[in-house]
Every structure is written in C-alpha cells, then in structure tokens.
C-alpha cells in the first residue's frame, strides 16, 4: 500500500558511513545507509532520538599524545588505561589478575546501532581474567584526549568460578565534542561475586555511549552501578543474561542530569533459566532544562519458572523545565514467577523541607540533605570504603555544582 520512503541521511550519518567504509565495514555502513540512525519510532530509542540529537560526528581518533589528570582517583586501586581506543601499558598486575588484549570488539552481534558501530570500529579489546579473590579495586580509566574525536574502545572481563572482584570504569577526557562508543563484556563464572561500577565523567561537550553486556553463570552474584554525571548526551545500555540457576543480580544506577543534558539509561535484563532473581533500582535527578531517561525491561523467558524480579525507578525533579521520562517494562512468558515494577516521580517533599528549614537549615542545605538521602540507597551497598567515598564525592560535586 503505502510506499516506503527512503531515509534522509544527515551529516552525522554521512560521516559514520564514510568512517565505516574506510575501515572496510561495508555491512555496517549499508545498515546505516538503509535505516539511518534510530529515531523515536524505534522503540528502544523512543526517548533518545539519535537522528535528532547526534548532529555531527568528529573524525576517527588518533592515538593520544598527552593525558589529562585522572578524573577519579580511588586510594589503593589498580589502574589500567585506554586512551583514544589504544590500550596503555600498566604497572604490574595484582595477584589473580591477568591482563591481555584481543582483536576487535568484545560485544556480541546484537541488533543495535551502537553495538554495530563498536563492533566495526573498535580495533582491540583490553582483556582481564580474574581468578580467586582480587583485593584491590580494579579501575579501567577510559579517556578521549586531544581534539574532538570519534572513539570506539572495548573491554572484555572474565571472572573465573568462585572468584570475587570490584571493577570500576571511569569515562573522561578533554573538553571537546567527542563521540565515545564504549563496550564492556563481563562474564561472571559459577558462584563468583562481582561489583561493576561505571562512572561517566566526560566533558560537557561529549556524546557518551556505553554498552555493557553481562553473562551470569550458576550461582553468580553481580551488582552493577551506572552513574551519569557528565556529557552533553549520553546513553548507557545494560544487557544482562541469566544463564545459570541460582544467579542473582542487583542492577542500580544514578542518572544525574543538569541544564542542557540528555542522559539515558536503558537496561534489558533477561532471565533465561529458572530460579534466578534480580532487583533493579534506578534513581534519576534532573535540574535545569534537561532530560533524564530510563528504559528498563525485565524479560522472563518461557520455562524460566520461579523467577523473582523487581524493578524500581524513582525520579526527583529539581526544576520545572526538567523532564524525567521512564519506561519500565515487563515481558513475561513463564507463569510461576513473581515480577513487579514501580515508578514514581515528583519533587522534594514539602513537609520534609519545612521540617529541616524550621530547624535552621538554609534552603540549599536542606535540599542537599534530602537529595543525599534519596541517593544513598544506591551508593550504600558499595562496601569498599575508599570507593564509596570517591562516589559520594562525585555526587556531592554534582549537587554543589548547581
């Protein structure tokens, strides 16, 4: 009936197609030529219309000559760095950590434009194999330095059976209009315990895209924490798959958005086998003229009985121009499960404010105190003290930066 109209391509798409062709990724180039960047009509990008938001793409990155100071220092952490997509040499690895590299991207072949781009453009992946109980926090410092650049980098982590580790990734760089497309694949072995934290601290002009894929084996325990506190435009994607019985995941996040920013956290939690549990807790705070987006999806596949999954999104509006958009989805194909989700959105409680101010706190301080309380639920489970303190520092910095 209705004829399919050809997609009109913009400057960003033209650059991407040229870049993909220049590295010989003709299939990925063809895909963008046919479909363009996703618009709001593509369900998984409903609130983040990349076609509209990503106006230009800078040239592919050159190796970095100079590095700025690390965006976040955690006392006692073992640091690794990827700058402009190139793995930098590092100090001697602590016991139980094996560092290496592999060709290409670490992600699977998921049908997603950011995954396609990373797959085609990331030349190498930093690989970490963790065995036993790794004591120091492992920090992967991912940077984009120098003039505006389009960077695709990749990290692949295997956590062996019965191992435990705390992994922190930070994203930062110079203040240019970069486009960063970061990939992380994390496999959690049988009965292993992992905490994985990603903190976006990139410059105010950067477009930050990160895709995290998780595979959980039997009895694995995973806690993730996604913090957005930088970038002009950002989107963090979390794709987790429960592949072994008895696995449990806590997925948490903090989306801090201020004037001019558009930050999106999109998660897809897939319970593929029975007797797996997960809890999702995401908090969004928006001030100024900004947009905070949360898209969460819990999928319980056929025969994945006895799954228990609960998702919660809480939004806090600190201004009238801000927008908090959320889409918490449940997709359930097994009948003997307990699943639920909740979503709330509002401003600071007037009575609580009155209570604090009547006891002599100035308005700004009372506000900060309430917001800290709101956030603490997400930060509290981070046991490493130095790390917890560093994260509180980031949140405080954001709160006071108003």
């Amino acid at each position: 009936m209705a004829q399919v109209l050809p997609v009109r391509l913009g400057a960003a798409e033209d650059t991407l197609i040229a870049q993909l062709n220049s590295v010989g990724a003709t299939a990925a180039a063809e895909r963008i030529t046919v479909a363009g960047l996703p618009t709001r009509r593509v369900e998984s990008y409903h609130y983040t219309d990349l076609k509209m938001l990503l106006k230009t793409v800078p040239p592919l990155a050159e190796p970095a000559n100079q590095a700025s100071a690390p965006a976040l220092r955690v006392a006692g952490a073992y640091q690794l760095m990827i700058a402009n997509g190139v793995i930098q040499s590092s100090t001697t690895a602590p016991a139980g950590v094996m560092v290496g590299d592999a060709q290409g991207s670490a992600l699977s072949t998921r049908d997603d434009v950011l995954v396609h781009l990373n797959g085609a453009l990331a030349k190498q992946s930093l690989t970490l194999t963790l065995e036993g109980s790794v004591d120091p926090v492992i920090q992967v410092d991912r940077r984009i330095e120098g003039a505006a650049a389009h960077v695709a980098d990749s990290l692949k982590i295997f956590v062996a059976d019965n191992a435990s580790a705390v992994i922190l990734e930070t994203f930062s760089g110079s203040d240019a209009a970069h486009v960063g497309n970061h990939a992380t694949y994390l496999a959690v072995g049988k009965n292993a315990m992992v905490t994985h934290i990603t903190v976006d601290l990139s410059g105010k002009a950067t477009s930050h895209f990160a895709t995290n894929e998780y595979d959980l084996d039997e009895g694995a325990k995973l806690r993730t924490l996604t913090i957005h506190a930088g970038a002009a435009l950002s989107r963090s994607q979390v794709f987790a798959r429960f592949a072994g019985q008895g696995a449990h995941g806590d997925f948490t996040g903090l989306n801090l958005v201020e004037d001019g920013q558009h930050n999106d956290i999109t998660i897809d939690i897939r319970h593929a086998v029975a007797h797996t549990t997960s809890q999702e807790m995401y908090k969004q705070i928006a001030r100024g003229r900004s947009k905070a987006v949360f898209q969460g999806k819990i999928v319980v596949e056929r025969d994945a009985q006895k799954v228990d999954a609960k998702m919660m999104m809480q939004g806090l509006m600190l201004s009238d121009e801000a927008e908090i958009l959320s889409k918490p989805e449940l997709e359930i194909y097994a009948d003997d499960v307990v699943c639920g989700h909740g979503s709330t959105c509002g401003e600071l409680d007037e009575e609580s404010m009155f209570y604090l101010m009547s006891r002599g706190l100035p308005q700004a301080e009372a506000e900060t105190m309430l917001v800290r309380g709101f956030i603490e639920e997400v930060l509290d489970p981070i046991e490493d003290e130095a790390l917890h303190e560093a994260l509180v520092g980031i949140v405080d910095g954001w709160l006071l930066g108003a």
Binding site: A2, S326, T344, G346
Partner: protein, 500 residues
Amino acid sequence: MADYDHIPTLKENIDRATVDSVLSLDVDKYKYGFESAIESDMAPKGLSEDTVRFISAKKQEPEWMLEWRLDAYRRFLTLTEPNWAKVHYPQIDLQDMYYYAAPKSTPAPTSLDEVDPALLEMYEKLGIPLREREILAGVERPNVAVDAVMDSVSVVTTFREELSKVGIIFCSMSEAIREYPELVRKYLATVVPVTDNYYATLNSAVFTDGSFVYIPKGVRCPMELSTYFRINEKKTGQFERTLIIAEADSYVSYLEGCTAPSRAESQLHAAVVELVAMDNAEIKYSTVQNWYPGDKDGNGGIYNFVTKRGDCRGANSKISWTQVETGAAITWKYPSCILRGDGSRGEFYSIAISNGYQQVDSGTKMIHLGKNTSSRIISKGIAAGFSDNTYRGQVSAHARAKNARNFTQCDSLLIGDKCGAHTVPYIESRNGSAVFEHEATTSKISDDQMFYCQQRGLNEEEAVALIVNGFVRDVLQHLPMEFMVETQKLIAISLEGSVG
C-alpha cells in the same frame, strides 16, 4: 434457550440460571458465532479513490465530506503501518476486502415494522432489545437506547424521540452528517486528527457508520445510550466512527458492544471514537468487546485496531473509560484522555482477557495539559492458553500541567505456562509539581487459593473463574449494572479450557 429435557434430574434447589450458564458453556464457547443470511449491498472490492467516492455517494454526503475523505485517503497513501505493538499477524491485504456492506432494503425504515425481520431476528439472537415497546414493558431492565450498526450501516436507533424531548441528539453518524453538518464539522477529527495514525487515517477515508451523540448544556441523559456493532458479511472491514459531545454541565453514559460470526479468515475492524467534554461535563464510556476471537488453533478472528480518545476540553470535566476485552484475534486499542481543561479528570478501567492464540496490546494514554488534572488507571490483564497480553500505557504531564496527579496500577495474571503477560508503561514527567505513581505486578493463581476453593467443592475451572472474578473486581464495579452480570459470565466463558 437451554434445553432442560435431556437433563435427567433437575434438582429443585438449583438455580435455573446456573444450569443455563453451564449448558451454554458446554455447547459452544463463542455463542455469537452464527451468520445471518441477510442480503447485502456491497461496494466493489478493494481500496481506491473510487471506493471512497462510492461510500460517500451511498451515504448521500455533502461535497465537503467527500473532499475531507479524499484528503484523508491521499494522506493515508503516504503512511506506513505501525510495528511497535507486541502483536504478530500476516500482512493485511487492504485490496482483498469490501469497504461497504449494507443490508438491502433498508432505505430509512420509518418504523421498526419496516425493518427486515431477518435483521430483527439476528438482534434478538444477540440479546439486543430493539423493540421499544418490549423494553418499556420490561420491569427488571432499565431503559437503554440502542443504535444498532451492522457491517457498514446503522439499521435502527431506538428512543430517539424521547431523547430529543430533552434536546439530546442520538443518531447514526451518516444521519448526523446530513442533518447536523455544523456540529459534525465543528467537532469531527478535533480529538483524533485525520493523520493521527495509520488506521485512524484509513478510517477517516472510508468510515461508514457509527453513532453521534450530542448532549446539550445542563442535560443529564435520562437513560444509557448504547451502540451495538455487528460484522456479518464475509470479507468486509468495519470502519465505525463515533462522536460524542457533552456540553457544559451535562452527563452521559454510553455502552458499546460488538460481536461477529465465526469464520476461518480474519476480518478488520478499524474504528475511531472521539469524545468531547466541556466544562463540568462527564462522559462515561463502557465497552464490552466480544468480537470473534478465532478458533482454538488461532485461525480467523477479528483484527481490532481502534483509536479511541476523549478530550476533556472544559474545566473540571471528566471522562471515564471502562473496557472489558475478551474477543478479537488481535486487539490494538488505547482509549485515551487529553486532560486539557484545568481540574479535569481521566479514568481508565480495563479487563483484558486473552486465551487461545489471541494477542492483546491495549492500554491508555493520559495526557495532562491543564492545571490540577488527575488521572487514574486500573488495568487487569489475564493471559491463558497460547496468548500474549500486553498493557501499554502512557502518562505524561506537560510543563504547564501544574500539580498533575496520576496513579496507575496494572496487574497481570498468567494461567498456564504457554502464554505471556507484558507491561509497557511510558511515564513522562515534564514539570516538577507533577506526581506520578506507577505499580505493576505479574503473578499466577496461587496453589493455596486453588486448594481453598477446590476443597470447598468447586471444580478447577469454577475455582479459576471465581478467583479471576475477584482479581478483576476493582474494574467490574465501574461497569453499568446490566453489563456486570454479562461480563462475569463472559469471563468464565473466555477462560474455559485454559486449565489443565
């Protein structure tokens, strides 16, 4: 009617109604699946500009209406079918169906006696009261004015005179276009714009009939108004268009029911319903949707692609949607409220039951535009058999919607391990003072509940029906009385065969 003769011993203390309902379960799950032999006047097959002209000419429409339709048709050609809903179906061949089918020999009957007896018989079979005298004589039934639409035309509208005494206009859409063109022009497509979506645009081009209701200022409609939709002809699509206008300080309660014959091929029903509520007006719109759902292997059934939207245009107006969705092979329907007037209120109560291979993707939209607007959504989805049941709903507050308030609760119940229940809410807050709460749960009927009921002598199916009725009670109590009983029976019928 039930045949009691072959029941060996009918005990005195058993209620006849109970026996009736059990027997009706036994015989046929979908009791409206019959086909009536009524000769029809059809448009040529397929969709084209000529079809649009044909329909417009058949309806003796004024020139502006034809232009309006043609414009919609041209715009339709530029649109593509939406694919975001969680439903799967083979490509619908829009050229392989009829867009107009009208029972012959019905050039405006002046009284019921002139109506084709076969038609009356059909409605009798469906349990729809068309004879005013009979209705008036009925003691236990309250009065209900009915507009009966079969395929593409309205065959009869009852109680028109009585309603007109208080200034209420209740007639078919075709008549309204001819007799009240100013009203139609003023309000048509002001709630659902012509190019709102693929199916709404198609409807705008080829819509055939539906109901038109106008409640003047300050009038409280003395009886329930209702429209009964029936698809009868083979290979026809039904494109109904309903417009309800409630002027300031008025009230109307409107019911809608629908059925279709059982056929192996699927048929399309693409409706547009628009409601307009002015200052302090209230519209209550209830639907019991019971289109043919297809057979147990998923063959046939109606594709129900519907756009329903209410506009709370005036201050403190209220629109309330209540729906019970048990039929149709595919349901794609989101009755919505645009809360434009300050202090206006929107409500959505829904029970969606899917069994066999049915697919339901339904929910609502609450668009808060005015100050102090509030909305409430209660949705109960029940999936059984091989079906998929999705709640998809949007709640959004715009920057000027100060103190907007929403509460949403959607619960899903899964019966059996081959079905799916999904929830897709879109929650969009664009100002600080808006307060939104949303909660959703998915669960199955607990073994404890089943044990309790069965231990008290209910069989498995009865126990399920009882528990499900309890599950949907929050919504049921918002239905008009006469629908409530019907619905409880419907729920039992829809779920039959889903256990074990």
